[in-house]
């Protein structure tokens, strides 16, 4: 009942006209950002980080959360209608969704994706509501050694497991950790790698790194290499589902949710594995004509399942962020940065110290999902028009917003030069297929992990065996090892299943 009371209080906070407006603007902006190629939720939130200096923390977290999951709804629209796969999260949706759109069933695919996102998002929000406080209660008992192991787990998975090459992932992670090193050491206050520049004592702004790596690098890549890439757009048909579509989608949505939700809860980030798993499951369970549709006319289960898995994972990823302070993706890392701008460190205490904020945020997830369903079903035609924005104006416009974000944070023109330099770094990384998520996560999580490591070693009086003596941290270390090994096995099997 305690949870219910908190949740009702959260609804009261989130339901004020101003906060509803923030949620709506966030959802609409998120959908737009998801639909537009070249800009994702991480970039959008990063560009808007300067508002944290003016807007009240609850309002801005509701706003950012709206962008965060709004982009998941919008992303599926692009991947179904355009013939270029977007982010990894929607890659799987694109496989069947595109085929469906080509055979004139774009409307059904869009409807199944949107309703599936709504169902999965809502179920996952219920999971967040029920389990986040429990986990927070439990997490209070974790000490520095356990936290360090958890962070190690998050860092390993984001760099070594996701992406195509472990060594390039690790390189990106170390680059991120190196950027995180710049500034004052958290424990002794010692300045590191500041080169005597006073501005660098506070460290490098996350806005610069995120916006430079994503937005500027994306624009530079587009101008250098994508000039003549031709895109074709599928025709939008009426957004309805037949009775048989419903019959086929419903179990797929539920299965997708069941597969996706656990993946978000553990700090083993990324939507790549759950969406692929869901796709494989749907394909395996399909029979007769439905099976024949996979890869030919496009099977609706192949859209419904992965899309639900995607949204479930993204929503439950808020659990480790809120209860442990551990981000597992680009966007959650930047959300953590937003919390830090308010001087709030997400972690088990968050549910007691900032109960208002947390419960308003959770309540806004319910509200936002309803808003997004309305925004994406009847109004989908509106968003599709965004796909018609010509590339030159689109990328040039993104650069304006990049400038706002980078300059607005510290009012320093030097930051704009730095932004360009980071953009060049991102261009090289993009060209040679280095993942960018480890840079952002490493930069945010690195200093926190270092502090936990040194506190843990202080507790162990300098002995590294402290990590092996405590059962929980030993278990976590074992998980780190298995996380390194298991996905490789799964990936091999996944390939076999898909072929």
């Amino acid at each position: 009942m305690d949870i219910l009371n908190h949740l009702l209080a959260g609804f009261a906070t989130a339901g004020t006209p101003v906060n509803l407006l923030w949620a709506f603007v966030g959802c609409a902006l998120g959908t737009a950002v998801g639909v537009l190629p070249g800009i994702g939720p991480a970039t959008a939130v990063a560009m808007l980080l300067p508002i944290t200096s003016q807007v009240d923390s609850t309002a801005s977290m509701i706003f950012f959360a709206g962008i965060y999951y709004g982009a998941m709804y919008g992303g599926s629209t692009t991947s179904i209608l355009l013939n270029t796969p977007g982010e990894t999260a929607t890659m799987v949706t694109a496989m069947e969704g595109n085929k469906m759109a080509k055979s004139g069933r774009a409307g059904a695919a869009l409807a199944s994706a949107a309703i599936g996102s709504f169902i999965a998002g809502t179920i996952a929000t219920i999971i967040v509501t029920l389990f986040a406080p429990v986990l927070a209660d439990y997490a209070v008992r974790l000490g520095p050694p356990e936290y360090f192991c958890l962070m190690l787990l998050a860092l390993t998975t984001v760099s070594a497991v996701l992406g195509q090459s472990t060594v390039r992932g690790l390189t990106a992670l170390f680059v991120g950790l190196a950027i995180g090193l710049i500034g004052m050491d958290q424990i002794t206050g010692q300045a590191r790698y500041t080169g005597g520049v006073p501005e660098l004592l506070d460290g490098v702004e996350i806005v610069l790194v995120a916006v430079g790596l994503f937005a500027v690098a994306e624009a530079l890549h587009a101008v250098l290499f994508e000039g003549t890439v031709k895109e074709s757009e599928n025709k939008l048909s009426r957004v309805t589902m037949s009775a048989s579509d419903w019959r086929r989608s419903l179990p797929a949505w539920l299965r997708g949710t069941a597969i996706g939700a656990p993946f978000g809860c553990i700090p083993a980030g990324g939507t790549e594995i759950p969406t692929f798993l869901s796709y494989a499951v749907e394909k395996k369970l399909a029979k007769g004509e439905n099976l024949a549709e996979f890869g030919n006319q496009g099977a609706i289960e192949g859209v419904a399942g992965p899309e639900a898995a995607n949204n479930a994972t993204v929503t439950t990823a808020l659990i480790p962020l809120l209860t442990l302070g551990i981000p597992v993706s680009n966007t959650t890392a930047i959300l953590l940065g937003a919390f830090q701008n308010y001087g709030i460190q997400p972690g088990p205490q968050l549910f007691t110290t900032s109960a208002n904020l947390v419960w308003a945020l959770i309540a806004s997830l319910y509200i936002g999902n309803v808003m997004l369903l309305v925004l994406n079903l009847p109004l989908v035609g509106l968003w599709v028009k965004l796909l018609k924005v010509p590339k030159p104006q689109l990328y040039a416009g993104i650069l304006i917003f990049a400038t706002v974000g980078a300059y607005g944070m510290r009012q320093s023109a030097f930051d704009l030069v730095l932004l360009y330099a980071i953009g060049l770094l991102g261009l090289v990384m993009r060209r040679f297929d280095f993942p960018t998520a480890p840079v952002v996560v490493g930069m945010i999580l690195g200093p926190l992990a270092e502090a936990q490591l040194r506190n843990a070693l202080s507790i162990g009086e300098g002995k590294w065996t402290i990590f092996l003596e405590r059962p929980m941290s030993l278990t976590l270390l074992c998980v780190v090892v298995s996380v390194l090994v298991l996905p490789r096995v799964l990936k091999k099997r996944k390939m076999v299943v898909l072929i």
Partner: protein, 179 residues
């Protein structure tokens, strides 16, 4: 020089860059105190660890590049499949736009410098888009005017929204707060 040997050379440069970064970090770490307190490791521990990690990764990348290129690359990058030359002139325009706006933002204000950046970047992207038919001259004065107007139409509302509504200070040309 064939396409693949260029790619190999570039990959070697990238891996050497990673190694250079590692060495730079190690050099910087030598100036950080190692005073450890109870923990047994001091502020210089993570820098040294990161430097060692980068060095190992750089070495591995170098070996990969040397022996046939980075492994597990993307299966089919559409831009690489065509093996087309990158559009350096477009890149130059976009870079000019970004750096000019960085240089001028405090003097000519946010709106004008962003419109300038927009126009330059859009010009570069147009150039990239029309490369196959380079014989024609599609860059007319008209497209410059349109781009600049569009840039103004985007940056002005952004400026007002951020400065008036969110009260985040951005530089203006005048003190009026509207330009």
């Amino acid at each position: 020089m064939s396409f693949f040997s260029i790619k190999k050379n570039l990959e070697i440069i990238v891996s050497l860059g990673v190694i250079a970064l590692a060495l730079g970090l190690a050099l910087g770490a030598s100036g950080i105190s190692s005073e450890a307190g109870y923990a047994g490791i001091g502020p210089n521990f993570l820098p040294l660890l990161v430097s060692a990690g980068l060095f190992l990764c750089g070495g591995f990348l170098f070996w990969e590049a040397w022996s046939g290129g980075f492994r597990n690359g993307p299966d089919s990058d559409p831009s690489e499949a065509t093996q087309e030359k990158p559009c350096w002139s477009g890149m130059a325009w976009m870079s000019a736009g970004l750096l000019l706006s960085a240089a001028l933002i405090t003097t000519i204000g946010f709106i004008l410098s962003c419109a300038l950046c927009f126009a330059c970047a859009a010009h570069g992207l147009r150039q990239a888009n029309t490369r196959p038919s380079q014989t024609t001259q599609p860059q007319s004065i008209r497209s410059w005017v349109v781009d600049t107007a569009l840039g103004l139409a985007i940056s002005a509302p952004v400026f007002w929204m951020f400065t008036k509504f969110l009260s985040i200070s951005l530089p203006g040309l005048t003190q009026s707060g509207w330009l």
